[in-house]
Amino acid sequence: MNEASLIGLFEATVSFGALLYLAALGEMIAEKAGILNLGVEGMMAMGAVTGFVVALQTGNPWVALVAAVAAGAMIGLLHGFFTVVLGAEQVVSGLSLTILGLGLAAFVGRGSVGEPAGAEMVSVDWGPLSDIPWAGPILFAQSPFVYLAVITGFVTWFVLWRTRLGLAVRAAGESASTADAAGHSVVGIRLAAVATGGGLAGASGAYLTLSLTPQWADGIVAGRGWIAVALVIFGAWRPGRVAVGALLFGLTLALKTRLQTFGVDFSPILLSMLPYLLTISVLVVISIRSRNRPSPAPAALGIAYRREER
């Protein structure tokens, strides 16, 4: 164990954390509006493959990012259409979109497996800031996606808790009929929220293929979409806590390949179970405490809203 490897560990923690954070923010926004989106894994895959393919075609990573966000958002809208407009079960629609997304991504990316990246997001150069010992490499030599994730976190917090729109979104997720009575369009809010969720998942997927591991392979998402879903719960639907959780879960991801170099004789596989077990524990605690006070979970989460039905 030496300084360089520790720095490397923290650097990876931040990188992975940002990956998870982007997707988790998207999921959080959708859930805050009342929609459970189990399609994150598929949306991330679509974002990943779209980003990669468009980067190959255009050589411009930013265009690729936009395309990836659009791809994710479109799948999000599909989920919204089935659940909000048609009132289908959110669980079924979401899982089917994961299956669809993963399959479609494999289909679209079939010719690009193993291809070198067409374009990459180069790490941002902060000039002298990157030279600070420790903080420099960890915080100031990261891919633009990391900073994007941080900015998105702030913007999400601000919009949800400091704007009229955010109030409406939160109301739609707590009590759709109250939001409706107050004059807001629950359908519009939920569609927008789930599209945003899909877009952010797409961005997260693009992070994978444009920056983190710049290549495409079927299965590149490797279950990190599920971690993002877990993360929202772990963070009790608050952007700040989700960020902390993202770093924590990011650490477990970073440690997976580094445990040996640190001389720790603990199975990295068992370590990787940690985020899921932690999330279950948090959920149990939340449920127990919810007997006397409202749960932090949006009260209308998962429940379809139909105004005409009384």
Binding site: R162, T163, R164, L165, G166, L167, A168, R170, A171, E174, S175, S177, T178, A179, A181, A182, G183, H184, R293, P294, A299
Partner: protein
């Protein structure tokens, strides 16, 4: 600083437009000749209402008299089939509640529309705030508005922590924030403790003094007398007394107007000799859904071969009483005896085995399961009988169901289809049939004919009388006084969780019953002496 929207330009001033003696202004509200029909019922039949600006005006009437419908017309929820609505002299045709709000009419419903995890301020400004919500500024503004009207509240407190009275204040604040000049409240004190009700009265007076107009629906006469200027009474969808000055009338007169004085002439089933006591409730106390007092020392006894009716205004403990007797609500103290045995803590199944038939108020949802088939619902209480080992003999179940359906005249589609498609009348026949088919020894029926058409009502009533004649002890709870007077052998009145009066239906005066129902003390010699 964030301010509420000003549709009429009069907010944030303390002008008193015509105020206390507006003889020189048009009435704030004028509803003329309002007709509103729904399938099978005429809710308003030419009702009218005239409310002076700057007054507190009560709208009185029994359940089903048409008060809520009229208020829904005023607040834009319903469109009247005929008649006009004038606000401040100007005619309006509201298409949605938003239109009414734009004209300054805000309604506070009985069921609050609040988000429990939001703060008071967030709930008040939801749907009516600036793009950027500056938390402290908003809370300050909401706090200032509340203080102006004497509605003590903490804007940054989450609503789930608030009592019902405090939540109601938030609902009122919502209307005020949107600059409602005319405030409609639907049974506002139904959810309040007496102390909170007095506070509300003071707030309403304050608003009226500010030049706003308050209209509220109520049953509670002492409150009406206490803080209203005028009252309008509805009965049977019509206005029977308009804008009575409260100072010039009294509770008796108002109660009489509400229930009507004409005697009911219907065939009474012949009286029988009552037998042994089958259902006995002693000093029963329980809590309601909100944890407040539901029943407060309820005593009653029902004998075999008699129908005991309970009259009362909704929300005085009827629901809690039937739930306790059926075993669906825990009892805090007191006892329930069925056929002489103490069943205070027995399960619903045990009570059924004793011979209790229960017709709950909630037809769909407790009594019947809407997504299940007719057969499944028919055997809900008796399916144990059709077991063959682990199996359920579906043939036997179906034929039991068919017998039930035939015997009680339930009109259904195929028996294996969900019951959700059945009409109210048929659903009730199914439910009643299921409970009565085994000849129960005690029948508890809560609002059994509510919402049914004439034939349905007659059918259910005949069934209940039939049970009585077969020797069952029947407890009948109904909001329809006529029904009670026709069917009951003894009539009790429930108020605030206990029995406050007993009458002989053949000789009682409606108006005395009405007064008991609204909590107005009744002289002892009007009551039948206890047996």
């Amino acid at each position: 600083m964030t301010e509420p929207p000003h549709p009429t330009g009069l907010a944030n001033t303390s002008e008193k437009p015509d105020g206390v003696a507006p003889a020189d202004g048009p009435p704030a509200v004028e509803l003329r000749d309002i007709w509103k029909r729904f399938p099978g019922v005429v809710a308003n039949a030419g009702a009218h209402l005239r409310v002076r600006r700057g007054s507190v005006h009560a709208v009185l009437g029994e359940n089903g008299a048409g008060k809520s419908t009229l208020m829904n017309v005023l607040s834009g929820v319903y469109r009247p089939d005929e008649g006009d609505v004038r606000i401040d002299g100007m005619a309006h045709h509201f298409r949605t509640p938003a239109d009414a709000l734009a004209a300054g009419v805000g309604m506070v419903h009985q069921e609050f529309r609040l988000v429990p995890s939001f703060t008071v301020a967030e709930n008040v400004v939801l749907g009516a705030c600036e793009r950027i919500v500056r938390r402290s500024a908003v809370e300050l503004a909401v706090g200032a508005l509340a203080e102006r009207f004497g509605l003590a509240t903490e804007p940054n407190r989450p609503v789930w922590q608030l009592s019902m009275g405090e939540r109601q204040r938030v609902e009122i604040l919502k209307a005020l924030w949107r600059d409602a000049r005319i405030l409609i409240l639907d049974e506002p004190t139904a959810v309040l403790t007496p102390g909170e009700a007095d506070e509300l009265g003071a707030v309403l007076r304050h608003m009226a003094d500010d030049g706003r107009t308050v209209v509220f629906i109520s049953h509670k006469l002492h409150e009406v007398m206490g803080f209203c200027d005028e009252a309008t009474v509805l009965r049977g969808g019509k206005t029977v007394a308009a804008s009575l000055s409260v100072a010039d009338t009294d509770a008796s007169e108002l109660a009489g107007l509400m229930v009507g004085a004409s005697p009911v002439i219907t065939e009474r089933p012949p009286l029988r000799e009552a037998g042994e006591v089958r259902l006995e409730v002693r000093d029963l106390r329980c809590l309601d859904d909100r944890g407040l007092n539901g029943l407060e020392g309820m005593d009653l006894a029902v004998r075999s071969g008699e129908i005991v009716g309970i009259a009362g205004v909704a929300g005085n403990g009827q629901r809690e009483l039937t739930q306790c007797i059926a075993g669906l609500r825990p009892v805090e103290s007191g006892t329930i005896h069925l056929i002489g045995e103490d069943r205070t803590d027995a399960t619903p199944r045990q009570r059924f085995a004793d011979g209790l038939g229960y017709i709950p108020e909630d037809r769909l949802g407790v009594g019947l399961a809407p997504r299940l088939s007719v057969t499944d619902n028919a055997v809900l209480r008796t399916y144990g009988r059709h077991r063959r080992g682990p199996f359920l003999d579906s043939g036997a179940a179906t034929s039991h169901c068919r017998d039930l359906v035939d015997q009680f005249g339930v009109r259904t589609g195929p028996l294996d289809e969900p019951i959700a498609g059945l009409s109210g009348g048929n659903l009730q026949r199914l439910l009643v049939g299921r409970e009565l088919v085994d000849g129960p020894r005690v029948v508890v029926a809560a609002q059994p004919t509510r919402g049914l058409d004439v034939q349905g009502v007659k059918a259910i009533q005949d069934l209940l009388v039939g049970e009585r004649d077969a020797g069952a002890a029947v407890l009948l709870i109904s909001e329809d006084l006529d029904e009670l007077l026709t069917l009951a052998d003894r009539l009790l009145v429930i108020h605030a969780g206990r029995i406050v009066a007993e009458f002989d239906p053949t000789t009682a005066e409606r108006h005395a019953i009405g007064e008991a129902m609204v909590g107005h003390a009744v002289p002892v010699d009007d009551q039948v002496a206890n047996r």
